[in-house]
Amino acid sequence: MSRGAGKVVVSIGIILLGLLTVLPFYFMVVTSIKDTDSYLTEKLLPPSRPTFNNYVTIFAQLKLAVYFRNSIIVLVATLVPYVLICSAAGFAFAKLNFPLRIPLLLLVTAIMIFPQMVLGVQIYHLQARMGLLNTHAGLVFAYLGYFAPYAAYLMTTYFRGIPRTFLEAAKIDGAGLWSIYIRIMLPMARPMLVTVIIVGSQAVWNELPFSLLLLRSTDKRTLMAAIALLNGEYGVPAMEMCAALTVVALPIILLYVVAQRQIQRGILAGGIKE
């Protein structure tokens, strides 16, 4: 009986906890539909007369569409090479034998810990000299260098789980490594590839330090850097800011709703060490 009561308590507690984790976002949305007066008078409850003016303002005045476009460009331009590079490297590390294999793999794993800001300043200057500063291409390269190691690590782990027999059978059939990779390994790795794509998308979309440093003019700027700057020198009224935040958060929320299991799998793949 106390067991039953205990379960009820836990249930209530866990539901409340769940609501608590999204409470800030409730306020975000509620604030975004207020006008100045309703915001000043009531901070917590929804307004009696909700308005979508703030959403109009942020697109009209704050050029959010431009930043959206840039974020999408950078995302797509990164994902394609990202997937190819990481799966190829993962395959090689897991299944092929070559000199320095272990040291190189260790190097790749160690790089995952490098702090972004230490690299940021130097990458900034490197790219300035290379003429890549303030270009989307430059940011893509920085992302590839920074996010690929983790994905390569995930792919390596996954490929390790594929029995060697597949590879050996294919080799006996006389297939070249490249065709083995394309025709057999990649299709088999699809679940992990999906995870890698989702993890990568999340990482690139949400990223700040590199995009802040490497993209400078408004027409190149991506979403997160724009939001961070919006809140800086030229602050924006709270209601409009919340509208902007809501709009910017929406794509990731949608992705999460659709790909929840993949995201959870990504967490488990990277983290469970038992």
């Binding site: 003429g131 989307h136 291409a137 893509v140 490249w178 003019s217 027409d219 602050g235 009224p237």
Partner: protein
Amino acid sequence: MKQERMIAAALTLLLMVGTGLFAGGGQEATAGPVTITVWDWFTGSPGSQGVLADKLDEAFQAKYPDIKLNHESVPHPPYDVYQAAIVGKEGADSILVHANGQNFQDLGEAFVILDDFIKDMRDQFPLATLADCSPERDVGKGIRGLPMTVQGWVWYYNKQLFKQAGLNAENPPTTWNGLLEACAKLEASGTIPVGFGKGIHAEMMIAGTLDQVLSDQEKRGLLNGAFKFTDRKCLVTYEKFADLFQKGYMDPEGLTVPLLREKGEEFMAGKSAIFRGFISDIFNWFEFGQALGPENLGVIPNFYFEPSTHRGVVGAAGGVGYAVPSYSDHQDAAVKWVKFTASIEGANLLLKNGGAVPANKEADRSLVANEVGVDVMDLIANNLVPPTKAFTQTPQWNVLRSHAPLMLTGEISAREYGEEIEKARE
């Protein structure tokens, strides 16, 4: 197998290159009429600045149809962007630079010397404003930009709210004690006496007051350490503001709610009575005049207290001016832009649309949008001193700004505040 290997390598390379081109985004040179890129933070911004930028573009294009303008906005402050462009030798053909700080002095060597190009209009500017646009504030080192505006900080006040508080709206306080008395009455009448926002507002108030407190020599001494931010005159100034804040006369929300644009707009909506604003660009006589009605807006340069050197003065210098980085491939066209914005024609547009006070002495005063603007221009003509900011090193300025909230709330003493600023000395 070898064939496949080759294909694989080529594909990978191609993909990277192709992605690079697709994502691309450098500046492409256009054939035909010259296109110049201009960077500033005016274009596209809300308020009168954006309007002004559009009007300048229009007028320039009308005058020079063979030069196409690519006007891009950069974040404010823009100096890391500028630095990147200078290092990479690639970027806009003309950039907007602050003349009232150390920026022309920090970056000046990277800009084209304009002296030969501006012989025809040099006399239209006060010498001090030209010096503000030169390395080491010395026109002998080559003028690198043309001052478009004059910038400084003054106190604006809402006459209506003054009347409601039982104060003489036409004869506002000019001393610090007078300010305190007025604040007491304003607070009693239910309004926020001194509006205050997060960000640059604290430095506008503190450093702007130092403009009146310090002598010219003392200000110059700040640059090399002959005079320090821990000097008694500075400490007295800090303490005055800490006192003002701790008495509750300054909007406490200003610690966390930004000046731009929230707190400024609150002043325009009549929520606070006294507000430190700009002379040019935004939150100035033009914008406030439009919002409150010019008959309702008053101006006070600075509040006097012992041991200030001056009385009733405002610190102002060249505000902003366009420069041409030496990496530009279109220097002739870019110089035309620079000259246009600072010319009489440009200055008149400033007066009419942006409410900026132009540096050009020959601008048509009759165009000024409201009589408060005339008051401000009179102040500049007759009661001008150089601003403290012009003689403060950039790292020190950053500390002056970032530690101001701590000083205002009393977390650190005035002396500690001054010491922290001094520690940031290069």
